[in-house]
Every structure is written in C-alpha cells, then in structure tokens.
C-alpha cells in the first residue's frame, strides 16, 4: 500500500522556470491538500481539493496552480519560479468520512525545491 506518493524528491529550478510537482494517492481519498514548509515554520496550506474537478485556494496560493482531474492525482504547478518558492512541499490526503479529527491527513514524503 503506497499511500501518498510525491515526485520528484528533489529539484533545483532557475528563476522563471516552471515545473509540476506530482502527487498521487491510492487510498481513494476525496480530500487532497498541498502544503509548504519553510525552515523553522509550520506547514502552510497552498491549495486543496474536496474531489475531482473541485479545487480551492488555501493560505498561500500565489504563484501556484492546481488541477484535479482524477481522484488519485493532484499536481501542483509553479509557472514562474521565484526564490521565495524555495521550500519543502508536502501533499496530503484524507478520507471524507466521519469527524475530521478521526480522519487525519496522510502525507507524502515531500519534494524539496530550490529556486536559484
């Protein structure tokens, strides 16, 4: 059972380049999320999705785009990379059953992105 899989694990981008961070889950979870973690900071929500075809902005969406064409996949797109986007990116999913605290987030292992 793979859970949440993120690719790539590491990436270095030049300013202005674009890339897509991939995220896939095999747990049939409807809810998926993208977080970023900067050094010494907590995780900040970038975008989230409550099901295929439905996405919404989180706390720090500027500079990013997402799509959700299938239940399994939730890619995050950076169009014009900036040094401020240097961070570790985590994708997460959760089942949408029951009370939220009984259905916690499952995280991938992250993508470490450096923009120079």
């Amino acid at each position: 059972n793979a859970g949440v899989t993120q690719t790539p694990k590491f990436r270095i981008l030049k300013i202005g380049q674009s890339m897509t961070l991939q995220c896939a889950q095999d747990m049939n979870h409807n809810y998926m999320y993208w977080y970023r973690q900067d050094p010494g900071m907590g995780l900040k929500l970038i975008y989230y999705s409550v099901g295929a075809g439905i996405t919404d902005k989180g706390e720090v969406p500027n500079g990013y785009n997402v799509s959700r064409s299938t239940t399994e996949d939730f890619p995050l797109r950076l169009e014009l990379a900036a040094p401020s986007q240097t961070s570790v990116y985590f994708c997460a999913s959760r089942a949408d059953r029951g009370l939220s605290y009984n259905s916690p987030l499952h995280f991938g292992n992250g993508t470490r992105l450096t923009v120079t």
Binding site: F90, S100, P104, F107, G110
Partner: protein, 114 residues
C-alpha cells in the same frame, strides 16, 4: 498571525522520562486538535488527536491534554524512547464536513537521549 504556537523549538529528555510538548492557540473557533510526528526526509505522520469536547485523550504512551479556557494543549510521552526523537507539530482545525483545513504550529524538535 500565528494562530497555533509552539514556543519551544527544541526539547531534550532522557530515555525513560516524561516528555511534555506544549502548544497554544488563539482562535477559540478551533474545535479539534492533532499532533503529528515528523522524521527527517519523511512526511508528517499522525500521532493522536482530541476533540474540543474532551480534555484528555490517551493512546498507549501518548496522552494529549486540552485546556480550553487557557487555549493550551500538551502532549505527554511516557516513557520516552530514543525512537521518539523527531519534530512534533501541533495542528488545529474547525468544523466538520468541511475541507478540514488545518493550521499548524512551527514544531518542537524532541531529542531523547540515552
């Protein structure tokens, strides 16, 4: 505006002793709280949660205490083991049937020494 705060960036505890990790929050609308544990180069993993209608939840060596009047929660690990060495994040959420967006604290790095 840091709504969830973990004021201790690090904590060192001897093996076998109790580890107490603290978390404060400012938003009284939060109605559930979770603790996540994170090892280097891995994603956070869920540890334990508590609803705001409770003041304590226990799971094996891990107990979370919630003091709503003080807007404070704590995670107790007894006894602490070397494998508990990790970064611990406190997180808070509100509402049910929503997207359950969580607000995370900045983390506390726990080191359990022999």
């Amino acid at each position: 505006d840091q709504q969830v705060k973990q004021n201790s960036p690090s904590l060192s505890v001897q093996e076998g002793r109790i580890s107490i990790l603290n978390c404060d929050y400012t938003n009284s609308m939060f109605d559930y709280f979770l603790w996540y544990k994170k090892y280097p180069a891995e994603g956070p993993t869920f540890l334990i949660s508590i609803s705001s209608i409770k003041d304590k939840n226990e799971d094996g060596r891990f107990t979370v205490f919630l003091n709503k009047s003080a807007k404070h929660l704590s995670l107790h690990i007894v006894p602490s083991q070397p494998g508990d060495s990790a970064v611990y994040f406190c997180a808070a959420g509100r509402g049910t049937g929503t997207a359950s967006k969580l607000t995370f604290g900045t983390g506390t790095r726990l080191q359990v020494t022999l």
